[in-house]
Subunit: 238 residues, 2 copies
DNA sequence: CCCGATGTGTGATTGGCATCACGAACAGCC
DNA sequence: GGCTGTTCGTGATGCCAATCACACATCGGG
């Protein structure tokens, strides 16, 4: 099955390639079957807003393919990105469960696919499958911890370089036995990175130059190589 | 019944004066009775740490009298206060439910009383009273929204004066028909206010001077009078 | 292939706030 | 009442990051 944007549509949760790891994915067979019935799937182009901060919640989106950024903005247009979501993540859960407005905006960063589950159907489903409701509570609590992580970063980390180092570390695979530097694909613009650490595009640009000069990282095209993790950790706990 | 620190001990939830408004307070009679059995109450002096960030959760505290501040700190000693809790508030709920370390430190700001409910007893209680479990889920989601409010303040509000104005407004009763300026008792030190808005003691001092000069507020002893709410709102949405 | 849109590098300038450094006011306590 | 410790007001100083400005690279579509 072939979709626009060169994506393969995944229209059956039972054979979804990301099934194992995530909430709503790794469930008893009967639950997944039920889920498969009540969801509707769609393919979205880049820059689609799945939902916007302040909207009444219509339901949740389960990201099947592509990345999405979650952000919140002030009235004057300043924006912070609070999370980059990937395949398997459930978006809009908290708002949908509590029936309050979405607290963030979810925007596709690249073409992708997502399943939509309407609020009513979800609540009905959760009533039917109590164990899944528990999983949802756990997920909500996980979200809460992530939010507190963000509060700590924003409130306790003063300098942009510290936050930048923190971000780089959060990207770097945390294997202890890392003999060789971590390679990873950099898909964000400087502007987006700036919105993640609460600074300006120019500062991010300068941070890259600076860190390159100090041999902390290296750039080959869009591949980012983290050369000196210990030094980054030192910057974070400075 | 008379306790140290000049407090009246409230040892029976059924006749608690704050019963009406809060989670765990406004419940069916049988549930409150059960709650009354599984809780233990204690009186704490000023500066008591009910629990500390990073500790394994032992259970929740229901504040009966006195105020407590919730805060999180960096390793270098910088601290932010995320909330001032008052009578009726439940502290440590998220950590206790999810069995992750307390994400904040809770410290009494004045002598007070709190009921403690151990984790096991609480979980058992929630299993028994499903409706209360639902209330808990709602509370968790409320906490999440509060956390996001904090993220917005920290991440999108740039200047200290803006954050200070925001704080003043959050203290001011939001009655629309306010013909006369709001009076309220100021119990926090400048240092604590600084920790709430992420700045220094000196800056808070200067902000008070500045706002006094601009006729936005007035101080009479420890009574704070907010003189020009519209102007404050203007500063916030600048 | 060209051309507009989007993203990136870097200099110059400036202002706001942290920091340091006092002394004054105030509170609690023997 | 006088002592000690906390809290508060305010000046002087310096620095770091926001802002403005502009040239260059890169990408994608017609």
């Amino acid at each position: 099955m072939r979709a626009p944007y060169g994506l393969n549509i995944i229209d059956n949760c039972l054979i979804c390639p990301v099934r194992e790891e995530h909430l709503f994915c790794n469930l008893p067979l009967s639950a997944v079957q039920k889920l498969n019935e009540i969801k509707s799937t769609a393919v979205y182009p880049k820059s689609t807003m799945l939902f916007v901060e302040g909207q009444q919640p219509r339901g949740v989106f389960v990201l099947c393919a592509g990345k999405a950024k979650l952000s919140t903005s002030s009235s004057e247009g300043k924006t912070i990105i609070t999370k980059i979501s990937e395949a398997g993540d459930v978006l809009g859960l908290n708002a949908t469960i509590s029936n309050r407005p979405y607290e963030v905006t979810a925007e596709m960063m690249e073409p992708g696919q997502a399943n939509f589950i309407a609020r009513d159907a979800l609540l009905q489903f959760l009533r039917e499958y109590g164990e899944v409701a528990l999983r949802v509570a756990e997920q909500l609590s996980r979200n809460y911890y992530t939010a507190y992580e963000e509060i700590r970063t924003l409130g306790l980390t003063s300098s942009p370089s510290e936050k930048f180092a923190k971000l780089l570390l959060s990207w770097s695979p945390n294997a202890e036995n890392a003999t060789e530097p971590a390679h990873l694909r950099l898909t964000l613009t400087h502007e987006e990175i700036a919105e993640m650490i609460g600074t300006t595009r120019e500062t991010v640009s300068r941070l890259f130059s600076d860190f390159k000069e100090k041999q902390l990282l290296q750039l080959k095209g869009s591949t980012l190589i983290i050369r000196n993790k210990p030094a980054l950790e030192k910057i974070v706990n400075s």
